[in-house]
C-alpha cells in the first residue's frame, strides 16, 4: 500500500460564530500566527518525504478556518523545490470555481516540469460554501466542471494552438507553454464524497477515486459502485484507483492514542466543518436524485458527530501501532484500497513529528510489499 501525507493546513481556533466558512470574519486571522503555522505544516510535509511517505497532498478551500490553502498550487510550488522523490498530489483544484481554467492547465504543467513529473492533479468541484465565497453559480457547477476538465486535458495533450468553444469557457488559441512532462498528462484524481455522477465520470476515464472524510461503510459501497462501473467500461480497476482520505492518530498504546485523538480530532468536524445550513448544499449543486438520497439518509451534520461516532463509524483510525496496522488491513485487504492519504495530528508540531516517526517506524513497513510499484503507472489518464 502507498502512503500519502495529507495536510488541510487548518487555522485551529475556537469561536462561537454560526459558521467557520464564508462569514467567519477574517479579523480572527492573525497573519503572524498564520505564518508560524504555514511553516510548521510545510515542515511536516517535507519531513514526511524524509520518513518514507510516497506522496504529499495539498488541497483548495476558501474563506474559512478549516483549511487555509485557497491556492493549492502555491503550496505545491513550495514543496516541489524542497522535495525530490515524493509525488505532489494537488487534491484538487476547484475547476468550476475558476473564471479561467486554462490557468490551471498552465500552473499544473509548470509544476510538473519543475518537479520532474511528480505531480498528481486532482479535479474537484469545491464544496458548497465555495460557491458563496467565490460567487460562482452553483447551478452551473457540474457542467463547468466537465467542460473545464475537458479543456485542461485537451490543453495538455493536443498540439496547440487550437480553438475551444464551450458554454462557459471560450478561447481562440489554446496553446499553453509549458507542456506537462508526464505523458500523456499528469495523472488526474477525483476526490469526492460519492455522488453517482462523479463515480461514473471518474471510472470511465480511469481517474482514481478518493473518498474524503467518509464513514467506512459508505466507502465500501462507493468502491463497489466504482469497480462495477469500471467493469462496465471494459476494464478492471487497479487498486491504485481506490484511495481513501482519513485522519490517523497513533501512539505507543491504545489509551494514549485515544487520549490524543479525543483532544484533537473532533475539532475538524465540530468546529472546522461548522457552517450555516444554506452553505452545505447550494441550489442546483446536487442533482435532485442525489438530494433525495441525502434527505432519505439524513446523515448527522459534522458538528453533531461525537468521538464515538467517528470511531465506530470508521471516519478515523486511532490506536497503538498494532491496532492501527489491524485497522489499515481492512483498507488494504478487504476494501483493497491501494493508497491511504492521511494527516497525523499530535496536538502540537513537535508531537506531530514524533507521531509521524512512530507511524513510519512501526506501521508503514508492514504494508510495503508493493514498494517497487509506481502507483501512477497506467492510471489517471
Amino acid at each position: 500500500m502507498k502512503f500519502y501525507y495529507f495536510h488541510l493546513m487548518p487555522y485551529v481556533m475556537e469561536h462561537e460564530e454560526p459558521s467557520s466558512w464564508v462569514t467567519l470574519s477574517n479579523r480572527h486571522y492573525d497573519p503572524e500566527v498564520g505564518r508560524g503555522r504555514y511553516h510548521e505544516y510545510l515542515d511536516q510535509l517535507e519531513y514526511a518525504e524524509k520518513l518514507g511517505w510516497d506522496g504529499l497532498c495539498v488541497n483548495e478551500h476558501h474563506q474559512n478556518c478549516y483549511g487555509t490553502m485557497p491556492s493549492p498550487n502555491v503550496m505545491a510550488a513550495m514543496l516541489v523545490r524542497r522535495t525530490s522523490r515524493a509525488k505532489i498530489a494537488i487534491l484538487g483544484n476547484g475547476l468550476p470555481l475558476r473564471e479561467n481554467p486554462l490557468r490551471i492547465a498552465e500552473e499544473i504543467a509548470m509544476l510538473d516540469v519543475v518537479s520532474g513529473g511528480r505531480v498528481i492533479s486532482g479535479f474537484v468541484r469545491g464544496i458548497g460554501p465555495e460557491y458563496f465565497s467565490l460567487a460562482v453559480n452553483p447551478t452551473h457547477s457540474r457542467e463547468r466542471f466537465y467542460e473545464a476538465a475537458d479543456l485542461i486535458i485537451r490543453a495538455w495533450t493536443e498540439e496547440g494552438p487550437f480553438p475551444f468553444d464551450g458554454r462557459f469557457f471560450r478561447y481562440p488559441y489554446v496553446n499553453p507553454w509549458p507542456r506537462p512532462l508526464q505523458k500523456p498528462h499528469p495523472p488526474v484524481w477525483c476526490p469526492s464524497q460519492g455522488s453517482t455522477e462523479t463515480v461514473e465520470w471518474a471510472a470511465q476515464r480511469r481517474f482514481p477515486y478518493l473518498m474524503v472524510f467518509t464513514p467506512i461503510k459508505r466507502i465500501a459501497q462507493i468502491y463497489g459502485e466504482y469497480r462495477e462501473a469500471c467493469e462496465r467500461y471494459g476494464y478492471t480497476a487497479s487498486r491504485y484507483q481506490l484511495t481513501v482520505n482519513l485522519p490517523i492518530v497513533v501512539a505507543e498504546n491504545d489509551a494514549k492514542a485515544y487520549e490524543i485523538a479525543r483532544e484533537n480530532v473532533l475539532w475538524v468536524y465540530n468546529v472546522g466543518l461548522r457552517m450555516r445550513t444554506p452553505f452545505y448544499l447550494p441550489p442546483g449543486y446536487v442533482t435532485e436524485t442525489s438530494l433525495r438520497r441525502v434527505l432519505a439518509n439524513r446523515p448527522k451534520p459534522p458538528t453533531e458527530l461525537t468521538f464515538d461516532d467517528l470511531e465506530a463509524g470508521g471516519y478515523i483510525i486511532v490506536g497503538s501501532p498494532a491496532t492501527v496496522r489491524d485497522k489499515l488491513k481492512v483498507f488494504s485487504d478487504e476494501l483493497k484500497a491501494g493508497i491511504v492519504c492521511s494527516g497525523l495530528n499530535g496536538g502540537s508540531h513537535e508531537k506531530t513529528l514524533e507521531m509521524m516517526e512512530l507511524f513510519a517506524r512501526e506501521v508503514m513497513p508492514h504494508f510495503r510489499e508493493d514498494a517497487h510499484v509506481d502507483e501512477t503507472a497506467g492510471v489517471g489518464r
Binding site: 464564508v22 462569514t23 458563496f132 460567487a135 460562482v136 453559480n137 452553483p138 447551478t139 450555516r276 445550513t277 444554506p278 452553505f279 448544499l281 447550494p282 441550489p283 442546483g284 435532485e288 438530494l291 433525495r292 434527505l295 432519505a296
Partner: protein
C-alpha cells in the same frame, strides 16, 4: 407550450391581467389575487421550477422568462394585458415591458428587483437561514405564514430545492439584477404604477426612486405597514391601488 409545461391558476371576469409572483409564492391563490379577480380575469402562472412546476433547462437568463411569458400570452390568445408582478415577478414584468410594451395596457411593479441601483447591494438571500430570510422580506413576520410549506417531507424539500435552483439560475450572480435592464427602462411606454413597501429591506425605497426616474411617467405609491411584499402584508390596500390604476387605463377589448 412550445414543449414547456405551464402551471397556471386563473379566475375572475373582465379584462385580462397577468400576475407574476415573487420567489416563494408560486402556485398560491392569495387574497390579493382574489381581489383582483373581482375586476379582471387573472392569470397567475408559476415560473418554471417554482411551486412544483417542472424545472426547464432552457431557462438560464431572466430574459428567457420574459420570452416564456410572451409565448404564454400568444398561447392564451391575449394580445394586450394588464401586467402586475411582485419582486422577481416585477423584474420579469419589466423585462417583458422593455421588449414588448405595446402588449401591455398597464404595468404594475410591486417592490421589483432587477436593476442596479447605485448605493444599494441586494442582500444575498441564498445565504440566509429561514428566520433571517423572513425578517428581511417581511415587516410583519406573521405574513410569511401564507407561504409556509405544507410539510417537511422529502417531496416538499426537493420541490423547495428545485425552486431555489430555478431562482439561482437567473439570479445568483449578478444577484437579483440584470446589468442591461436599467438603461432599457426608458423604452417602456405602458402606463406604469410602482407599489412599494416603506420597510422593504431587499429593494428599499432608494430603488423605487431609481425605477421612477427611469420609467417615463411612472407613478409611485408606498405602503406604510409593509416590507418587501406589500401585496401579502396589506393585500386590500395594494389591490385597491392596482385595481384603480388599471381600470383608468384602456384595456384590450
Amino acid at each position: 407550450m412550445r414543449g414547456t409545461p405551464v402551471h397556471l391558476l386563473s379566475d375572475g371576469t373582465g379584462p385580462a391581467l397577468l400576475f407574476l409572483h415573487g420567489a416563494g409564492a408560486a402556485g398560491r391563490w392569495l387574497p390579493f389575487q382574489e381581489q383582483l379577480a373581482q375586476h379582471f380575469t387573472v392569470y397567475a402562472p408559476s415560473h418554471p421550477g417554482h411551486g412544483g412546476a417542472p424545472a426547464v433547462e432552457w431557462i438560464e437568463h431572466i430574459s428567457d422568462l420574459a420570452f416564456h411569458y410572451l409565448d404564454l400570452l400568444d398561447e392564451l390568445g391575449l394580445d394586450r394585458v394588464h401586467l402586475a408582478g411582485a419582486s422577481l415577478g416585477g423584474w420579469i414584468g419589466a423585462e417583458i415591458a422593455v421588449m414588448a410594451s405595446q402588449r401591455l395596457s398597464s404595468l404594475v411593479l410591486i417592490d421589483p428587483v432587477g436593476i442596479k441601483v447605485n448605493g444599494w447591494i441586494y442582500p444575498f438571500l441564498f445565504g440566509m437561514e429561514l428566520p433571517q430570510l423572513i425578517s428581511t422580506v417581511f415587516h410583519h413576520p406573521e405574513a410569511a405564514l401564507a407561504l409556509a410549506p405544507k410539510d417537511q417531507s422529502i417531496d416538499t424539500l426537493a420541490e423547495l430545492y428545485r425552486q431555489n435552483a430555478a431562482l439561482a439560475r437567473v439570479a445568483w450572480n449578478p444577484h437579483l439584477y440584470n446589468p442591461l435592464l436599467r438603461r432599457r427602462l426608458p423604452r417602456i411606454t405602458a402606463p406604469t404604477l410602482l407599489c412599494w413597501g416603506e420597510h422593504d429591506q431587499v429593494s428599499p425605497l432608494l430603488c423605487a426612486d431609481a425605477w421612477a426616474k427611469e420609467i417615463p411617467g411612472a407613478q409611485l405609491v408606498t405602503f406604510r405597514e409593509s416590507g418587501h411584499a406589500p401585496h401579502l402584508e396589506e393585500p386590500e390596500a395594494v389591490a385597491a391601488a392596482v385595481i384603480a390604476f388599471c381600470l383608468r387605463q384602456k384595456s384590450a377589448p
